[in-house]
């Protein structure tokens, strides 16, 4: 056995949808609906609260770490800083004087 739409397919589809609407009335909620809803709301609120706390803790830790790194990089250690305050010419000159201290290569060994 089979069934078909008679005549205009679109009209038949509309009729079928109307019949479907009548066949499926709005269901009543169970007595447990509201308690269960509030339980889920509370559960979600708790997880949001803990996630918020974790997020705040992470942000604080990241900020402290960043400040520590910044302090480590910026505070001069001994006579030298990671950032040179010499000019380019001074740096070249210093490099040249260091080169002068190097012994000449022993040409006879090459």
């Amino acid at each position: 056995m089979n069934w078909t739409f008679k005549g205009d397919e679109n009209e038949a589809l509309d009729a079928l949808f109307r019949a479907y609407r009548e066949a499926c009335p709005d269901p009543e909620a169970s007595a447990n609906f509201m308690p269960e809803l509030w339980r889920r709301i509370d559960e979600r609120q708790r997880s949001v609260f803990f996630m918020g706390r974790w997020a705040r803790a992470l942000v604080t830790a990241a900020a402290v770490l960043s400040m520590g790194m910044a302090a480590y990089l910026y505070i001069p250690r001994g006579h030298r800083s990671v950032f040179s305050v010499e000019s380019y010419v001074e740096a070249l000159s210093a490099g040249h004087s260091q080169d002068a201290d190097l012994p000449e290569p022993a040409l006879d060994e090459l």
């Binding site: 499926c24 809803l37 709301i41």
Partner: protein, 199 residues
């Protein structure tokens, strides 16, 4: 509106009784829409709770009263859509039953038994579910909202946030896909008999 905007404002401020009032006002209608969208009676309450859960946590974003209902519909549609995507495999397994459903519908329509109405409602429901399970979740939801829930294009515009013309095109295509899927099923050689029921 089934509730005053004042109640919504109180709920936005965290007033639990006001939120309860909103839920009680819209619960039945929302559950009905979900029931027709997902066709799984045992999961309707679960999806309904998810809708009102989302409502609770997004209520503070609502600014005007007139967008409340389309907004609640949107939450309903999104929750149903998530559910359908999650349970797609289960739905697909029911597609093979379509011909059987059609046979049952024909039987219901031709029958004159004592429990005729109850059986007919069940069978119509199952036949339409099976038919809609052959198209995408998006098509199913759009068609259900328009053709079964009876929402106007203006209301759908607010829910989907697209222009009326675009909606008309989507609806037309969705209907075509349903009719095509249905037609293909009917063109398959029937091994179950020759009798035909008509609607």
């Amino acid at each position: 509106m089934l509730v005053e905007f004042e109640v919504i404002k109180r709920a936005q401020a965290g007033d639990a009784p006001a939120f309860n009032e909103i839920v009680l006002a819209y619960r039945k209608r929302t559950l009905g829409t979900i029931a027709r969208l997902i066709s799984r009676p045992e999961d309707v309450e679960d999806v309904g709770q998810e809708v009102f859960l989302r409502l609770y946590f997004s209520l503070d974003q609502l600014r005007t009263a007139e967008v409340f209902e389309p907004w609640l519909y949107r939450l309903t549609v999104n929750a149903a859509y998530d559910y359908l995507r999650k349970h797609r495999r289960r739905m697909e397994s029911r597609m093979s039953d379509l011909s059987e459903q059609q046979v049952m519908l024909a039987d219901a329509m031709a029958g004159g038994r004592v429990d005729h109405d109850v059986r007919q409602r069940k069978q119509i429901s199952e036949a339409v579910d099976a038919m809609l399970s052959q198209v995408s979740e998006a098509d199913r939801i759009l068609l259900t909202l328009k053709e079964v829930e009876g929402l106007s294009l203006k209301e759908l515009e607010k829910i989907y946030r697209v222009k009326e013309n675009a909606l008309k095109v989507r609806l037309f295509r969705a209907r075509q896909r349903v009719l095509k899927a249905f037609g293909e099923e009917n063109r398959e050689p029937s091994t179950k008999g020759a009798a035909k029921a008509e609607i």
